[in-house]
């Protein structure tokens, strides 16, 4: 299709929009009432501003570049649709509610075409077709951005959760504790190991207690990851004690045939702490006057 034709096509859309913005805007907003409108998630004024901005851009862009959404002239429109989409993903809109931002504009525009092309069915059909193609392309683009920003959000949350759930606490001078909660998969082990090793160096600790009270299942993969962590800590000069080994977990480990090297294991964190203090030669005496 030549540039000339494209521009002509665009020009028609401009005619349709010109002077009718207010009316189209009102109808569009009405179309969106209901499921897509989501008054609970977006303010009426905000939505109106988005729609007004969209119509203005649509008029400018199609006037200059026709209805080919792939053309570089549609850059600002893509940017705007991207913002709309990302904003909705963050606000908690459903994918369908987001897509209809674009699709609900179809009826108001088609109504305008019908009024303006009365009698000229060929021109009307051609105009509707190019408009359908454009709005569909925009709708799909909105979905792509929506999907991508949801994926980004989930990945970010997962990363944040990983870091949140692996705190290293200093129990005493030279003694660290690392409570693990949940399952110990490869990604998790990596984070756990890094924060433990870093804390060992920073605090110059010689004992590290890895507490697995919060790990529901210790299978061979979890065991392998624990052993890897213990070995790495040893290389940094810290000895490890594994605590929170409940009786049922101890039995399972034995049946699996896992060799925990010569790592000391304890049922409770308190018992492990006591062993750690002993190894560092620290002992406590009860104050006779207070007991």
């Amino acid at each position: 299709m030549s540039e000339m034709q494209l521009n002509q096509k665009g020009a028609k859309l401009v005619d349709i929009l010109s002077g009718q913005e207010e009316r189209i805007l009102a109808e569009w907003m009405k179309e969106m009432t209901g499921s897509t409108r989501r008054g609970d998630l977006i303010k009426e004024s905000e939505l109106r501003a988005e729609c007004t901005q969209f119509l203005k851009l649509l008029k400018q862009t199609t006037e200059a570049a026709g209805t080919d959404f792939q053309s570089p002239s549609f850059g600002p429109m893509r940017e705007m649709l991207g913002d709309v989409s990302r904003g909705r993903a963050q606000k908690g809109f459903k994918p369908s509610e987001t897509a209809t931002f674009v699709f609900s504009l179809k009826r108001p525009l088609f109504d305008q075409i019908q009024t303006q092309y009365k009698g000229d069915t060929d021109a009307m059909a051609a105009e509707m077709w190019s408009l359908t193609e454009l709005l569909d392309a925009m709708g799909l683009y909105t979905m792509e951005v929506f999907q991508k920003s949801r994926e980004d959000m989930i990945r970010r949350q997962q990363e944040e959760l990983l870091e949140l759930s692996t705190p290293v606490v200093k129990l005493w001078d030279g003694i660290l504790a690392l409570p693990i909660i949940g399952t110990l998969d490869s990604a998790r082990t990596q984070v756990v190991m890094e924060s433990l090793l870093q804390a060992i160096v920073q605090t110059n600790s010689r004992m590290a207690i890895i507490d697995i009270t919060g790990v529901p299942t210790v299978d061979t993969v979890v065991a392998q990851h624990l052993l890897k962590t213990v070995t790495a800590a040893r290389l940094m000069g810290a000895d490890c004690i594994i605590s929170g080994v409940r009786p049922q977990i101890a039995q399972t480990i034995v049946h699996l045939g896992i060799n925990l090297l010569d790592v000391t294991t304890k049922a409770t964190l308190a018992a492990a702490f006591s062993v750690a203090l002993q190894r560092l030669g620290i002992s406590f005496v009860r104050d006779a006057a207070k007991s």
Partner: protein, 133 residues
């Protein structure tokens, strides 16, 4: 022996292992298995589910609750993967063709009351484990 209920759980990707463990925990606790027995069959299921994914290319787990005369839980892991050429060797502690500890098959056998394995190169793998109450 009466099968009281049967259900299928997909075992295709790593997160499915978590689902498998959760489901086995729910069912075994409903059956009234002791905490130790629950932990044993959950751990065995975790091992076999991971093998199904890593070595079998994905498959499924069938969960059956048994009643009459004995109450028990039976799990069948099935895949259409490459199969195991030498089952005795694969069951041996420390044997792995991957990067694991090589304790999954032998270990899960020791964790349950009944262990049945059917596997042939090209014919996939089916492993059935049972833990009685």
């Amino acid at each position: 022996m009466a099968v009281v209920s049967t259900e299928n759980v997909p075992v295709k990707t790593e997160p499915d292992v978590v689902t498998v463990r959760r489901r086995v925990r729910e069912v075994s606790s409903q059956l009234g298995l002791s905490l130790v027995d629950q932990t044993k069959i959950i751990t065995a299921a975790s091992e076999l589910a991971r093998n199904t994914i890593i070595y079998g290319g994905g498959g499924s787990m069938q969960v059956q609750t048994l009643n009459g005369p004995r109450v028990g839980l039976r799990l069948t892991f099935e895949d259409n993967g490459p199969g195991i050429p030498d089952v005795d060797l694969a069951l041996r502690d420390g044997f792995t063709t991957g990067s694991g500890l090589g304790l999954g098959l032998g270990g899960s056998k020791r964790l349950v009351n009944e262990f049945e394995i059917f596997s042939k190169p090209g014919a996939g793998t089916r492993i059935t484990i049972t833990r009685w109450k």
